[in-house]
Subunit: 453 residues, 4 copies
């Protein structure tokens, strides 16, 4: 038996390739799926099955993509009218080499959620490993808000039942393989450590330490960000996302072609760092740093418009493209050939963004400015600048009217990356004087300046 | 926390790189150690510590090599006069980022054996993971014969105590990371599955199911191969193997230079496949197939002579060199430039080896031949050809007089690879007519020919 | 201006990628054409034009393949009814960045042959470089036999005229870029040196030193091998070869599947070395060593049957597949998974080939054997073994009846590779006792044994 | 014969690896010299000789480095007391496989300049190829100012004589391989085209079209930049540069460590783009863009201080390090780990640079500002902004007093890269208000704004 964990960075999504002898199965494949086939082939194995733990909402599932190139069969849990693949019942079994995979229906995060228990028949009858999807993470459990607040109590209870009645009884010694690691929006407190077992979770995971009542009320009280692209993902992952048959190949666009594409409705995504963006950028760009695409593109980018990229280096395409298609942004028209330099060399218009250090902010603080902290509620509550306004960067556009339009705005987050995205949004929604605070709260605290909680 | 398992193929040796934040530790590094440094650097971490689980006997430890290039400190267990590194007591603790590592003295396979338990302080106080060295494997436990048969009962008892009193009490939910996987000579029945936990081992590993008495008598009764290079490894791993500062770089040798090196005492190792070797080889070569070097070079190659390689492709050097230096064979003078073709193109002498199929053997069986089965005792007992002689390929040279010298010999193993090594040994020890049986017992059985047990 | 020479090994075919500014052109692309696009893209250029110097007969042209992925336009010389691309007249001009390309109609090797002269307008009006196709090579000139012996005198004269009237007058200082390098079947005496100029060729190339009469009679008297696949290439390169849209991806076949594919008409091509092939092979295989595929596959393999590969290493596919598709062998069904070992492990039938050293041959020479020298006429005339029979390996099957069938045959070539192919042909056409002489004439001469001329 | 041209980007330096059979020679190796050995080894050849065409002044020669790892012998021309290698006379011959190399003493750019003519003995007695060093380039000839203006007339005359008496007589058909391509500071008008011949140069190169008198007066009148690092290179290339035995390995430095290294005298080189640098930089940095290091580091960086790097991506080290050591900057202490973000996250001081577009400049032009154009004299004369001040960026520090210190300065070059370097110099020499004009004269002209000549 060989187990490969394939991570989608930024989403903190874990998919798994399980191989035994000449057979293999993939759990929750991502859309850029060549990696599974490559690893299977290196081990002289063939991918026979694809198992989905649930209808994911934070990325577009790659099952159809992988089935297209391998012929593998796709399986889902019961209770949803999936438009592709086959539906499993609780307790169905599959052989993968000398392994036995058994489906465990675990209504929890969603009603159709499935866990998959693996027994190594060569070693005995005990379950050795369980793929826990969004039911149980290292140090956390799944969200119970996907059907809205009304359904949350019901989901919280079924989640509790699934964990206590179906998963933990498999035994302390069972290795747990969850669908997400630390940093995922699908859990708030997932541990940095990737390796875990049911025993460790039973004893150390805070959620299962509670009574059912406490558990349910804790889950109901929890707040999780819910980026708008989740709706699209739910639709995609029910019907099957469009088949790409490989990665899109954005075109190099000369500065004038790039400008034309903008006037035809293209949305500019600039993945450079805040100082570089601040130094020179194209009007109406979204500044989403490269590694921030998985987490923030889905908050702000529309699906109906083509995407135009401004990159630091051409090589950054190799990351930007998979990051975007994992969220279903398939229409990536092109990138600015030659980068931002090509733009200003052509004397085409350029914008600058104000850039402040923490010290600059401190100095201006008493003046007539708005300090806009775009972090999430938890981060805000952990300590912020007195007098600041808190609006999360994700839904910032909807809340734009809450920001006074008659004075300068300084945007803040943890290290300045989301602040720069927020600043870019403010600018193209009409704010004249906007400053990104470089280093943001990290620098502010390192400078020893005061915060309130 | 990030855990990387670095495997030495053929030896089925597992070393581990454990990273947390900007710090890292390596458990039982191998000698070709660039991989640890590379992975640490990719994660912006620095290797601070090297922990050895015990004085290994099946490979030359890479601690000095890795310490040379990283400045990391080296630690051993107590009870042996190591000539390098520092000695730990039971219960010493180290911090690696947010992890706590604690040494557990577990006399077992050797008296100074150490396990290392890891607690993720961010998650709680439970041990999350334990490096079990040669104390506990997936599905097996360590050997108790390193000090000879007299000491075996004592070691078996301390091993039993260490497992039951020190390791299993850490909890079922603890992930176990042993020093070896399936195929290692350090355990006879290690599982194919790499992922395991103390819970799984407590319930499914056959050894801990026994009473102490049964356990001890089972361990005493066990037979394990003990290749002669183990002595050299014990010496190396006590005093520290020679510092290589990088991999040796064997020279391309023209056919005549190669011949000269042979006459100066060089030992020829031909890593080609049995049919290629059979078709044309150089007198007095050892035919050890490329992937067989880790397991068989240490049985037959002397340490005091330089090694000369005959390869199918030049690229095979990239495997042959690390395989050899892991066993302490550092004096790899060169390889035959242009391969065996260069030899016969120069009209230098060439030998052929007889090659039989299973069908050929069947036909000749009633004649006046010796059928020499060079597999291990367990394999032999599982089924062999009636009338065959069984001598393990490893110590074949010492037993050469047991083989009738007046008739043809057909060599057999499982698939013909060890048979070809045996045939090569027979030929240069004077046997005139020797045949490697291609496919050996696998082909024999697939052909439906009879075996006895 | 940047000039890349892309070589097809074995065919000694040179194609060229010429870049200037953001534009590029390819001369005589090969079918595995990703390399041109990759290099153009690295230089931020786009391939606009594809120029063919003539209807090639030694490989399948990649123009359609490259046009498919780049949109480039394809141009040929006049006088042939090409079924794809556009036809040029003498003297047409194209701009590639700051370069001017001018077509020069040079009937020579074929009637529609074109050379392409490049002027660097930035430097002056002189021609800087000329693509000479099969008209002029370094040290040699093109073949004049493609239309058969009757047309040869006419072609020889037009070739002479084209060289003297159209090419050499461009000036001594012009760099010449021919379609072939040393080792091509399209010229007998092409120099090892790749860099040349019209001045060097005017003074040092033996052909242009002759009078027209001598030149014509020399060309008529020349003998060149003409492998049968040339007919297929002529047909392909007139109509356009099938569009592959990428490289074929042969399947791994288990031994029994492989056997089934043979019984369905598949032809086995075994690319291993003569000793490995001799040690164990599958009946009715062709033994064409890996690097020999470009030159010898086209002599012996049929187009109407699928190809089945036996390889030393799986990685050898990366060479075998492009080598075969360059000759139009697109139907590569699969390869024997696990190699020849997998075959004999299954107890499926295996053949051995006799393998002799030069010394063995010397010893047996006086007996009742046929010594079959399968080299070309020129090599044969340079020195062979007295009493040997000379039949070129290419058309060996047609001449099989000229070989006495009542006695052993020893096959010879220069180093034994073609000898092993010949031996493989002899065996499956019914010869019982066949020996490949390892090292062949090279070993024979190195051993100091006598030859006659 | 195989000829590889190995280019050092930025320096536009060409070195050559010439292989024939199993032997090779390198002409003018660079210091990061693994490439030569790698290519030779791929061709199964050994580098026997290293030939220097002259004591180079624009980079540190790699002869000692390459000789250290290959054992090759080093040769120079006569007339200088080199402290390493061996001195050649005119007309000495060496065999490299079937090639003959002959030294031609060509006093020209320097007195000891050597050309090396190659004859392919297999093709005839004509010279096929000549390595022309800094004597003759494609479209240009070498500089005659290395010994200062007094010696220039003498050098110009010997250069003329060497070209006409020693090089051009080798014949029009000889391929010329010069030491530099377009963009080198060693010639002002070298052609983009890399392939050339003596015939093309005889007819198209402007220099040899002149009479000797015109030639000499033209060369005397020529102006070439002479960066100060030339002196160091002359010293290094006479005595042999320090032996590196591999590339230096700069350390990752945490922000505070970085600051400490600055206070210990380290010089900060920031290789990011002008907008990124403008957005946030460390006081007293030199902003030399990555690809500008080869050409501009030698103008401004001192040799006696250690270098500290600020990079966009860590991967940029792979370029920065070779670029610097080619100029003899071996003391590269480290790079800012985490980049500029790490700096401002720590609340350490940050500077901003003013960034103007061409339109901003136009608007401010009539105000009280200095427009500082830092391009070379030729570029300046080709068209500049009326009223601008021209000081070349290279020696800017020496001329700093010529710039009015009482008003804002806007820096300009061709596209803004040198302008940003100039701006960084101005800032740390005390100018308060400095603006880099993004896109500089390119944007200015593209905007349609007026220039004077």
């Amino acid at each position: 038996m060989k187990l490969y964990t394939i991570k989608s960075e930024g989403l903190a999504h874990n998919s798994y390739l399980l191989l035994a002898g000449s057979e293999g199965a993939v759990i929750d494949p991502r859309r850029d799926c060549r990696v599974y086939k490559h690893l299977a082939s290196k081990n002289c194995a063939k991918i026979k099955y694809i198992f989905e733990t649930h209808r994911n909402e934070d990325y577009a599932i790659g099952s159809l993509e992988l089935a297209y190139s391998t012929g593998a069969r796709i399986y889902h849990g019961p209770g949803l009218e999936f438009k592709y693949g086959e539906t499993l019942m609780d307790g169905q079994e599959f052989n993968i080499g000398e392994l036995r995979l058994k489906s465990i229906h675990t209504p929890s995060h969603t009603d159709e959620s499935m866990c998959y228990a693996i027994t190594d028949l060569g070693a005995g009858k005990d379950v050795a490993l369980v793929f826990t999807g969004d039911t149980l993470f290292a140090g956390d459990v799944g969200r119970t808000d996907p059907y809205g607040p009304k359904e949350a109590p019901r989901l919280a209870e079924t989640l509790y039942n699934s964990i206590f009645n179906r998963i933990l009884p498999l035994g302390d010694g069972v290795i747990a393989c969850p669908a997400h690691g630390a940093g995922s929006v699908c859990g708030g407190a997932i541990a940095e450590r990737e390796e875990t077992t049911l025993g460790l979770e039973r004893r150390q995971n805070p959620a299962p330490q509670k009574t059912k009542e406490d558990f349910v009320s804790f889950k109901i009280g929890e707040y999780h960000e819910r980026p708008p692209y989740f709706r699209k993902m739910e639709e995609y992952n029910l019907n099957g996302p469009p088949l790409l048959k490989g990665l899109p190949n954005p075109k190099p666009l000369q500065p004038k072609e790039f400008t034309e594409e903008i006037s035809c409705g293209g949305v500019v995504v600039d993945t450079r760092s805040p100082p570089a963006f601040g130094g020179a950028y194209i009007e109406s760009s979204y500044n989403i740093w490269l590694e921030g695409l998985p987490a923030y593109a889905g908050w702000v980018l529309p699906y109906e418009k083509p995407i135009l990229l401004v990159l630091e280096y051409k090589k950054d395409l190799d990351k930007a493209v998979p990051y975007l298609i994992r969220l279903g942004y398939d229409a990536i028209t092109g990138y600015l050939s030659g980068g931002i330099d090509a733009r200003y060399n052509e004397a085409l218009p350029i914008e600058h963004m104000g850039l402040w250090t923490a010290h600059d902010l401190k100095e201006k603080l008493n003046g007539n400015i708005t300090v806009l902290d775009v972090r999430g509620g938890d981060e805000w509550r952990d300590g912020h600048i007195s007098g600041a306004l808190n609006i999360h960067v994700g839904p910032l556009e909807e809340h734009i009217k809450e920001i006074p339009s008659d004075r300068p705005v300084a945007t803040l987050c943890k290290v300045g990356l989301r602040a720069s995205l927020a600043a870019s949004i403010l600018r193209w929604t009409g704010f004249k004087e906007v400053y990104t605070v470089l280093g943001s709260m990290t620098a502010w605290k390192n400078a020893g300046y005061p915060t309130v909680t």
